[in-house]
């Protein structure tokens, strides 16, 4: 470990840069890779090809396009709330990323003597985006927006519960709320006495992992849970009245949040920034808490994040949309009872073994 003593403000600036770097650029990567290219492949077309090699600069061109669009405030809109809504949505995204560790020393908060309620904090701030979406839907004073905002609120609170309850299984197994603690619990874990792979919780918490992924899909309002923005029914739901850069900010918020949720899922279920122990053992002199993992960790996290977001967009472009009542029924009558049983069974197994 390299011991560099930094003043608090220097450390804070570095952490803000790190937060910026793990929210916005990966959002661009996933949008290009999955939303442009993978979807084009699935639909037997090329997708963007003109801007840059293989259309890789398409996103830059898009931002240029959005920046030139006129900013429209509808006459009846509540101007202050209308303008504040994108801020609230993005604040939620940036606060979510705070707790995700990217290496043994690369945790923004949740250090040794710091805030150790990591995953609980993440679950708490993830619900702030509901407020932003409701604000956008209400302040637009448009029927489409209002319906979209109300649908979003109903959907997000319904799927918040399975999300939270699925995490409880992981917390029971790891015995800690701290994200670093969950990573090291998975690294040091064993499955029936075999520790070569550690114990990534997507194996032992498979039910919880599935519930978590489904709930994340619904929390992000991606198809098949995209009723709040159902384009054939509600134009674009709560974003209908927004134009230009404000619309783009909602868009960025959506995809950045998808990435951050993938980071969180990777930490909870796929072992976080650590690699399986047998790989660490193959390289002599490498320990899981050695400084090298501050460089390897982020790369491992990005790979795991890309895997999980791939699943999100794969599902998004494969399944047809739910109906509103089916969505609520699925959350309350299927996911929540299953996750309650999951908690009881996980607790029983934890106490018995």
């Amino acid at each position: 470990m390299i011991a560099i003593e930094l003043a608090y403000w220097q450390e804070a600036i570095l952490k803000l840069l790190l937060g910026f770097a793990i929210v916005l650029p990966p959002a661009g990567i996933t949008v290009y890779l999955y939303l442009f290219k993978m979807v084009s492949f699935m639909q037997s077309r090329l997708g963007p090809m003109e801007a840059g090699p293989y259309g890789s600069l398409q996103l830059v061109a898009e931002i240029g396009k959005w920046a030139q669009k006129e900013d429209i405030f509808p006459t009846k809109a509540d101007r202050f709330v209308y303008a504040a809504a994108p801020f609230v949505v993005l604040i939620s995204t940036f606060l979510l990323v705070l707790v995700v560790p990217f290496g043994p020393d690369l945790a923004i908060i949740g250090g040794e003597n710091g805030v150790d309620t990591g995953i609980f904090f993440a679950l708490a701030v993830s619900s702030i985006s509901v407020i932003g979406i409701l604000m956008a839907g209400w302040a637009s004073a448009s029927k489409y927006s209002l319906l979209g905002g109300l649908r979003a609120a109903g959907q997000l609170i319904a799927y918040e519960l399975p999300l939270v309850l699925a995490v409880v299984g992981v917390v029971i197994q790891a015995g800690t709320l701290s994200m670093q603690g969950i990573v090291s619990a998975q690294y040091e874990g064993e499955i029936f006495g075999f520790g070569g792979f550690g114990n990534p919780y997507f194996l032992t918490q498979f039910v919880g992992f599935m519930i978590f992924l489904i709930s994340v899909q619904a929390e992000l309002a991606q198809a098949p849970f995209d009723m709040p923005v159902a384009e054939s029914e509600l134009v674009t739901g709560y974003m209908t009245e927004y134009s230009g850069m404000r619309f783009l900010l909602f868009f960025i918020g959506e995809f950045a949040t998808a990435n951050v949720f993938a980071f969180i899922a990777a930490t909870l279920f796929l072992g976080g920034w650590a690699v399986p122990p047998f790989l660490v053992d193959m390289i002599p002199g490498l320990e899981i808490d050695s400084w090298a993992f501050n460089l390897i960790g982020p790369a491992v996290m990005i790979v795991k994040m890309l895997l999980l977001t791939f699943v999100v967009y794969w599902v998004r472009f494969t399944f047809p949309r739910f109906r509103e009542d089916q969505l609520q029924r699925f959350a309350w009558k299927v996911l929540i009872p299953i996750s309650l049983v999951n908690i009881a069974v996980t607790g029983l197994l934890k106490v018995v073994f």
Binding site: F87, F94, L146, I157, L161, I336, G347, V351
Partner: protein
């Protein structure tokens, strides 16, 4: 200031970072975009026809009762988390206690289910 409070200060700083990023995007756009509002442009969008009535029109929210259920289960989750971190120390005693707790809450869900609250009804 303790490290604990310093970390919460970072939470505040990240909130400000988000506001700064959004502000920077909007500021950049305000330098580039035109601003020529006309009466037709700033009317609320209703598929191209003139809007009918008020934007905040009455609509039936069928699932408002879910919000009450949500509060019930969210409070339950807050109780479960501290228990989950300490389950190993509590052993069977803690397990039985929590299963009873979850069972009582599940009874509430079952009651709502039986009463037809979870059904889409007109």
């Amino acid at each position: 200031m303790s490290e604990f409070l310093r970390e919460y200060l970072l939470v505040l700083l990240f909130g400000l970072l988000a506001i700064g990023v959004v502000g920077a995007f909007l500021g950049l756009a305000s330098l580039l975009r035109p601003d020529r509002p006309t009466a037709g442009k700033v009317t609320n969008y209703e598929s191209g026809v003139d809007p009918v009535g008020d934007g905040w029109s009455q609509s039936q929210i069928r699932y408002y009762i879910f919000a009450l259920l949500f509060v019930m289960f969210d409070v339950e989750a807050v109780f479960i988390f501290p228990w989950a971190t300490r389950l190993e120390e509590y052993g069977y005693f803690g397990l039985v206690e929590m299963v009873i707790f979850i069972f009582i809450l599940a009874l509430g869900l079952a009651y709502a289910w039986r009463k037809g609250v979870l059904r889409w009804s007109s």
